[in-house]
Symmetry: C2
Subunit: 382 residues, 2 copies
Amino acid sequence: MNVLILGGDGYLGWPTAMNLTANGHTVAVVDNYLRRNVCREEDVEPLFDVPNLHERTRLWKETSGYNVQVFIGDLRQWDFVADVFGQFVPDAIIHYAEQPSAPYSMLNRRAATLTLSNNIEVTANVIFAVREFVPEAHIIKIGTMGEYGTPDIDIEEGWLDIEHKGRRSRFLYPRQAGSLYHTTKVMDTDLLWFYVRMWDLRVTDLMQGPVYGLFTDENEKDSRLLPFFNYDELFGTVLNRFIVQAVDGYPLTVYGKGGQTRGYLDIRDTLQCVRLSLENPSKAGELRIFNQFVETFSVNQLAEKVQQVGNQFNLNVEIRSIENPRKEAEDHYYNPVHTGLLELGLKPHYLTDDVISQMLETVIKYKDNIKKTSIFRGVKWK
Amino acid sequence: MNVLILGGDGYLGWPTAMNLTANGHTVAVVDNYLRRNVCREEDVEPLFDVPNLHERTRLWKETSGYNVQVFIGDLRQWDFVADVFGQFVPDAIIHYAEQPSAPYSMLNRRAATLTLSNNIEVTANVIFAVREFVPEAHIIKIGTMGEYGTPDIDIEEGWLDIEHKGRRSRFLYPRQAGSLYHTTKVMDTDLLWFYVRMWDLRVTDLMQGPVYGLFTDENEKDSRLLPFFNYDELFGTVLNRFIVQAVDGYPLTVYGKGGQTRGYLDIRDTLQCVRLSLENPSKAGELRIFNQFVETFSVNQLAEKVQQVGNQFNLNVEIRSIENPRKEAEDHYYNPVHTGLLELGLKPHYLTDDVISQMLETVIKYKDNIKKTSIFRGVKWK
C-alpha cells in the first residue's frame, strides 16, 4: 500500500516508516520539524542527536535497501497539503502530526495557541485532502487514552451504549481530558466523527496510552536509526523519564500520591497496532476506535519497577513524591477495555525486567549527555 | 455590570447591547463585520440595510440616551483582544462572535476553514483573556441545541448521569452535531469544560435553538434599530426564511419529509435568557448549561403555521417538499429538557398567529428588496 506518514520525524513516526517499508509498503513521510524546534526553544533536546529526516532515509536505504520519500513542510498550509496528496496519492494516511506534549500545551498562552492551531488545523486539512484527492483512503489517527480521562465507570472501546429513561442509544464514549493537548485530541475526534458521518470517510482512531522503549526490529543493529529519546518533563513519557532519572541519580519524580494509573505499551507494540490497523482497514463510513495499550500501571508501580531493576545496576535509585504540578486525580478507578487490537492479532510485549535493563543499558551509554536542568520544570496546570 | 458583547453587530448581538444598556448595564460591543462581509461575498445580504455599528450606537444614544462603546477588530488577533480587555475590564463577556451558519460551514473548504479557525480561536482567546485580565469574570457562551443532534434518548440539560456495569458517573451529555458549524460549538464546549476544571472559570453555556423574530422592546419604535434579517438559505433561520418565502410567493422549502424537530424561541426570549444568565452568574469552577428554547416544532408544523397565517393575508402560500440537501434524520425522536431558564424566571413568548402576522407585515413592507436568487441555494452536506 502507499502509506503517507504525517509527523514522520517523530518518536513513533520514524520507527513506523522503517517498519512499514520492511513489511512491503511504499512509504512517504511528512514533517516540519515542529517538535525538534520546540525542544530547542525550550532547552529540552533529546538524550542523543538524531539525524535529519533526509539523512535518516539515506541511512535506512543503505542498511535495508528500502526507500522512504520525504516531504518537509507545514501541514497547516493547504498548498503544501495539496502538493503532497497530489504527488504521493496515498491509500492510507497515518496521522501523527500533532504537538504531542501535555505539559508543553499548559506552559503559556503561546504554547497553548500553537498546540490548538497545529493539531486542529492539520486534522482538518487531512480530512479535506482525503475528500478532495483520495476519498477511499484510510485515515489512521493517533488519539490518546487521555481523551477519556479517569471516569468512575469502565472505559469502553470508543463507544458506549446508554440506557436512559427507558430508551437506548449508542454514543461516542463521553470524553473529558486532563490537558489542553489531550483536549485537542478530543476535538480531533469530534471533527473526524462528524465527517465520517457526512462523507463516509474510513477512519481508525487509536486511543493510545503512554509508549516506552527505543528498540524495534529495524533499529536494533544501528543506533543511528533510533528514534528521539526525550527524558525531560515536557516531551519524555513517564517510563523513559524514570529510566534517565535512575541513571542520573535524580530521585524519580512521582507527582503527589502516585496512584495515577494509565495503560502502557512498548514502542514495538505501537508498530504492530498501527500495521494491524493499516492492513485491516475500517469500512467506508466507519469510525473504528481501538484502545491501544497492553498493561496498566500506576506511577508508583512504574517507579518501583525502575528502582528494583536500577538497583541491580547498583544505581541506588531513590523515589521522591513531589507536589503535583498538574491538576488530576492521584487515586482513582481505572478499568479500560482493550480487546479490539488483540482480536486483530496483536502479540503484546510486556514490561519485563529485561526490557527495563535494556533501556537502562542504552541510557547509561549516553549518560554524559543528560542535562539535569532538563529533567524537572514543574509546569503548573493551575 | 460591565458587559462585553463579542459579535455585537450580529442578529442577536445588537439587540442584546440595547437591551442590557436599557436595563442598567455598561456595555461595549466588539465585531469585525465578518458576517456582513461573508453575506456580501455570497450574495445573500439581509432584507434591509442596517447601519454600521458606530452609526447604530449613535442612533441608540439619540433615541435612548444610553452609550455603547464600540471596538472594531478581529478577536482571533491576540493584540486586539488584549487591547479590548485591558481597556474595558468586563465583569461578564457574552460570546456571540462565531460564524453562525451551518450551510455556510458546509459550502466549501475555504468556508469550512474560516468557520473552524474563527470559532475555535476566538473561544480560546476569550478563555486566555479572562485568565490574564479578569479571572473572576463570567463567560456567557452561546452554544446550540444542535450540539446534541437528535439522539434516540431524552436530551438532558447539558449533563447526563450514566450507570454502567454497576457503577455511576456524571458526564457532559454526549454530543453529536449535524454540521461543521455545530461541531465547532461542540469543540468550544470541550475547550470551556477543560479550562473550567483547570482554572476555575465561571461559564454559562446556552444551548440555544433557532431564533425567530425582529422586534424587541428597544427597537419596536425605530426601524433603524432593527437587527439583520436574513432570509437566505445560508444565514436565515427557518421561520424567518418561510415568512419571506410566503411574502414572495416562493413555495416554502421543506427539506425531505419535514419531520426535523427543533426547539425554537422568540428573539425577545433570547434577550431574557441572556440577561437572566448574566444577572445570576455561575460559580467559579462551574460550567452551567441551559437548554435555551421555548417550544418544539417540526419543519412541517412551522410551514403549516406560516401557510395558515399567510393565507389570511391572501398570500396563497404553497408548501413544497424538496430533496434534502443536508444529511440528517427527517423523522426522529426529540424530547429535550428545558427547565433551567424557566426556573431562573424566563417568561416565554410563544409562536402565536399574531407574532407571525407582525413578521409578515414587516416583510411585506420590504417586499421589493427580496432577491429570489438568494432564497434557495441547495448547499449539499454530502
